[in-house]
Amino acid sequence: ERSSSTFNYGTYHSLTSIYEELDNLAHECSGIVSKLTIGESYEKRPLYVLKFSTGGTNRPAIWIDAGIHSREWITQASAIWIARKIASDYGSDPSITSLLDKMDIFLLAVANPDGYEFTHTENRMWRKTRSRNQGCLCIGVDPNRNWDAGFGGPGASSNPCSDTYHGPSANSEVEVKSIVDFIENHGNIVAFLTLHSYSQLLMYPYGYKCTKPADYAELDSVGKAAASSIHSLYGTTFEVGSICTTIYQASGGSIDWSYDYGIKYSFAFELRDTGTYGFLLPASQIIPTAEETWLGLKTIMEHVRDNPY
């Protein structure tokens, strides 16, 4: 698949194929897209981030990641579609054009490449990383319980065989640490958006505790506006709320870390499904899911652009 004209966004792809498409995007849209390597996974696969930028130094930036839970294939697939959308809309969509004229976007389409590869070759239902746990046969850590935010608290397991194992210490997973290091070194990330599936939720902090964040009113209102944008396209309904109130208490999650770190606009999306397919959403729904998700992301990003802090 040497050029975007042959890349089918409406199907699921191997890691190699996705990585090739990242190259294509960076090559074809080199004016605004570049590919950065922010680290390596446990099994030494590169962690690639696409940077969308029109220039300037250390501009305020929006972070988007997808696929930290490897089996949630709709998220990696949506991220690739969204990457193409951002690149192609610059210069034609006034909203994205003004956004990119002011700030940068960083997109990590496959946050857990080892897990993703494993889902393609060994176990389609794999969720965690592939790191070895000393003294235990069970492999992997839930990378969304491994962040330094209430680490090891309620809603995470201390059992290495569990799907929600939090790991030996916060940031023990190199995939998590690489993102943390990148964001801390950048120093000007103003929004942190993470894509998960499934159950159609749009959540803000907190998950490790059930108290409201300081910016509750604003986050709730932005979240509801984004959910309304999502709904406008195909009628998909998203519930909006804090992690603790919409799902359950879960400690060590990424948006809790980012919010406590000072990134006010921290949101987690749980994309389609309605419950019929779980992590096996039919490929025919990839593009509709990506399209509606894009509208939700755009609403949040426009708010971020217009409300510097």
């Binding site: 199907t11 060994e122 389609r124 239902m125 159950s199 799902i247 208490q249 019929t276 992590f279 490929a283």
Partner: protein, 94 residues
């Protein structure tokens, strides 16, 4: 390659806090090897769980004996996985 022949995904609907607690207890039974896609948290939200074939009977008995409502979301996970694989292969050929 791990196969999921006979694995079912159930959607469970707890009607009160007590039933949620029972489902949370079910979550702790590691020998059943349950994979919760949506964890038990509140009666307002469904609980989706993938159940290996060897645990199906035990789980269904547990639910029925506690009068907890459920329905089958995915009858045989491997069938859906095979469809996904076929769709990917077709797409690659195309």
């Amino acid at each position: 390659l791990e196969t999921f022949v006979g694995h079912q995904v159930l959607r469970i609907r707890a009607s009160n806090k007590e039933q949620i607690q029972k489902l949370q207890f079910l979550e702790t039974l590691e020998h059943l090897q349950l994979d919760f896609w949506l964890n038990p948290s509140s009666p307002a939200l469904p609980v989706d769980v993938r159940i290996p074939f060897h645990s199906l009977q035990a789980v269904k008995v547990f639910l029925e004996s506690n009068s907890i409502e459920y329905s089958i979301l995915i009858e045989d996970l491997q069938v859906v996985l095979d469809e996904e694989k076929q769709a990917m292969a077709l797409s690659q050929q195309r």
